[in-house]
């Protein structure tokens, strides 16, 4: 088919497929936070604002620098990130499995879904005391809480995606006599991938939210611990530094997930660009 691709109109699709990183893509989103930071910095250093409760960006950067130099930052980031990673992994595996089963078998959906929906309605923080009783105050209860938070959006998204796979496309597979394994890999999986990626990204976001709650339960390290520490020692710079790191990690992990899925979703994403 190489001669096919050689024609110029055919090339456009290939060109579109190549990843493009322009300066604009990176600079534009940073404009607003940078401007706000600069304004605040000017307000504090010009004496218009006190900066005691809301320290200037330079103070926060200095705090981050100290934390990084002492090695504390690495410890906290590692602790929090690994909790999110393990919780996300467990929660999303369970969510994908249960979602796939209930999405595919109407009977299991009728049996399982009402109960799961009821469980979902429970504010997840309400599980904390129970998890502590069951699993102790250490890692297991924290990871369980994060996994629960991740589970529900992933479960819902995957179930919806599988239940709504176009029966007409499945029929195309049957006409060409695909076996069940081929049907899954060549039709079902690609069909549910976009919605599943959205669900996983939602789950990951919740994972970052729940890790804070989990670390508030009492932790000797982690960004959540840093937040508590900053409150107890009256250091808003520490709190804001931790918040900034949360924002960066959350954004970075989401971008990573999106980038990993992107090669598989080329067929549908280009119309969103301009």
């Amino acid at each position: 088919m190489s001669d096919v691709v050689g024609h110029s109109p055919a090339l456009t699709a290939v060109q579109r497929a190549a990843p493009r990183f322009s300066l604009r893509d990176i600079a534009v989103p940073l404009l607003l936070p940078l401007a706000l930071g600069l304004i605040w910095e000017g307000a504090v250093s010009g004496g218009f604002a006190e900066g005691r409760l809301m320290p200037a960006p330079s103070t926060i950067i200095a705090t981050l620098g100290e934390l990084a130099k002492s090695g504390e930052l690495e410890v906290h980031v590692l602790a929090t990130t690994s909790r999110v990673a393990v919780g996300f992994l467990l929660g999303s595996i369970a969510g994908v499995l249960v979602g796939a089963i209930t999405g595919h078998f109407a009977m299991s959906r009728r049996v399982l879904d009402p109960t799961l929906q009821a469980l979902r309605a429970i504010p997840s923080i309400a599980w904390v005391p129970l998890f502590i009783l069951w699993l102790g105050i250490f890692e297991a209860s924290k990871i369980a809480l994060i996994a629960v938070g991740v589970f529900f959006p992933v479960y819902l998204g995957v179930m919806g995606a599988i239940a709504s796979v176009d029966r007409k496309l499945v029929e195309v597979g049957r006409i060409f006599r695909l076996n069940s394994l081929q049907l899954v890999s060549r039709i079902l999986l690609p069909a549910v991938l976009p919605a599943s990626v959205v669900a996983l990204r939602g789950g990951l976001g919740l994972g970052w939210m729940f890790v804070v709650a989990a670390e508030f339960m009492g932790a000797a390290e982690g960004l959540g611990y840093l937040l508590i520490d900053g409150q107890q020692t009256g250091r808003p710079d520490l709190i804001i530094a931790a918040i900034v790191v949360f924002a960066l990690l959350g954004k970075a992990s989401d971008a990573l997930l999106a980038a990993a899925a992107k090669p598989f979703l080329r067929w549908q994403d280009s119309y969103q660009k301009n």
């Binding site: 699709a13 006599r177 690609p190």
Partner: protein, 254 residues
């Protein structure tokens, strides 16, 4: 080539849809099936395709009974049903992935040529027009080299010009490749263009009420008149008016 014997169908819910349908289609022959909406045309086609089991009776292709989809039978649906995550070329190759790469490439290339979409090979389906998409669906069916192709109102969603174009194309392809075609349509003119014979189905329960033979190369006027009066008789006068309309359209476009 295709033999339908005493096929009846009733779905689990609802009354009989097909009752004792008999039809034999010779190799290389093209039969159009027309009939009122809901009379069971799609159901009959799906039974021939092996997508739906008959309640009674048998369908055989080249002597083999159809129970599940058969490699010798291809199907083209009303909608293109392209897989949106595959390019045009990949969609065309969808049914022949078990072939060695070079053979596959050659067949896809040939099919792209045939349907005039060579320069669209690496586009995504959503970048195609309705007519282009349906061409790809035709190519996808053809590359598997079936002997029988079933078409369920394949051109009804297209504008008149594209439709006429694809009808001519399909007829030429059918003749050239010596394909056995069964085409369901609600358009009597389309039936006359594509069918060597036209089977008129009657509803409640669906059965073949009459078969009109379309003369090979000449005058379809007689067949048209016969078809029109049978159709009007069998499915009410409203459809005769529809045919009159189709006839005027045909006169204008040909």
């Amino acid at each position: 080539m295709l033999h339908i014997a005493h096929v009846s169908k009733a779905f689990a819910r609802g009354g009989p849809v097909l009752a004792d349908v008999d039809l034999t289609v010779e190799r290389g022959e093209s039969v159009a099936i027309v009939g009122a909406s809901g009379c069971g045309k799609s159901t009959l086609l799906r039974i021939i395709a092996g997508l739906e089991p008959p309640s009674r009776g048998t369908v055989t292709v080249a002597g083999e009974e159809i129970r599940t989809p058969h490699p010798m039978v291809g199907m083209i649906f009303q909608e293109p049903r392209l897989l949106p995550w595959l390019t045009v070329a990949e969609n065309i190759a969808f049914g022949i992935t078990s072939l060695p790469g070079s053979e596959r490439t050659a067949r896809v290339q040939e099919a792209l040529d045939l349907i005039g979409l060579v320069e669209h090979a690496s586009k995504w389906p959503r970048e195609l027009s309705g007519g282009q998409s349906q061409r790809v669906a035709i190519a996808r069916a053809l590359v598997a080299r079936p002997s029988v192709i079933l078409l369920d109102e394949p051109f009804s969603a297209l504008d008149a010009v594209t439709r006429a174009d694809l009808q001519r194309h399909m007829r030429a392809l059918g003749r050239r490749m010596h394909l056995t075609l069964v085409i369901v349509t609600h358009d009597l003119e389309e039936a006359l263009i594509l069918g060597d014979r036209v089977a008129i189905m009657q509803p409640n329960p669906g059965r073949i009420a009459k078969i009109v033979t379309v003369p090979g190369d000449g005058d379809t006027d007689l067949a048209r008149r016969e078809l029109a009066s049978s159709f009007a008789h069998l499915s009410g006068a409203r459809n005769a008016a529809v045919l009159e309309g189709a006839r005027v359209e045909y006169a204008l476009t040909s």
